[in-house]
Symmetry: C2
DNA sequence: CAACAACCTGGAGTGCACTCCAGGTCAAGC
DNA sequence: GCTTGACCTGGAGTGCACTCCAGGTTGTTG
């Protein structure tokens, strides 16, 4: 790991969220032990960057703030909680897969609807 | 199409939403011309059922109420708007595909994280 | 040294999509 | 004839995840 530290603006840019969101996550205990510069400004390290990327990945795929907080709490409780964290990840992975399957079914229905538009000659029933 | 009419409770059950949600959609002009029984209670027909299924499919995949309202307005304006409605469906389809790709990338990251848990012997950097 | 940019804090506000509620109607069953 | 259940209306409330704001500090820049 390099020892390059990121400012809030740089981190926001790197992970694609606002600075406010970063602070919000910290308030919600999803990010801990963020370093500070002499003037009190936050300085994020490479570990923070990696974690926030994972955090965003989990959020983007529907894990709630509450669940993420729980995951973080487990992390803070040490190695004994690894199995539970692993279970959370696996469960979440399964949910994401299930979601993909839902999207596939939706695409089929949308395609069907598109086909109807394409082959419709009359019949005004659309609503 | 059969002429069997559904009560609000039956419709809610058939499409997997609450009766309140059904009424909400109607207020937002996403469902129009719902029939009524003599006592003023709603009676949904087969066309309503088909449309509400499509509506739910689009909502479930991220189309907003505003966009759906626009789609409905187009429908009410007649055949001249068919190309625009088709474009909306195709654009939305593309978004759903894009979302699927995002989920795939997320799954890769989750798998990577799971691997780290599995191959971790020491190294306490987690949070 | 004044202005400006980047950040700080605690707390209030926002947008979306529902979800719930009070008060009322109507038809069927005991 | 009274209760029960399903439904009606307009409007208020909820939960989530941010997002914004006021008021303040610090450090650089012309």
């Amino acid at each position: 790991m390099t020892d390059h530290l990121l400012t809030p603006a740089e981190m926001a840019d790197a992970v694609g969220v606002s600075i406010d969101t970063l602070r919000y996550y910290e308030r919600e205990n999803l990010i801990s032990d963020v370093g500070r510069a002499a003037n009190g400004h936050r300085r994020y390290d490479a570990g923070d960057l990696a974690w926030i990327r994972v955090l965003r990945c989990l959020r983007d795929t529907g894990m709630t703030i509450d669940q993420l907080r729980h995951y973080c709490e487990l992390g803070e409780q040490g190695d004994a909680t690894k199995p539970e964290r692993l279970t959370m990840l696996r469960d979440h992975r399964a949910k994401v897969e299930a979601r993909k399957a839902e999207l596939d079914r939706a695409i089929e229905l949308i395609d069907h609807k598109i086909d109807i538009y394409l082959h419709e000659d009359d019949e005004g029933a659309t609503s």
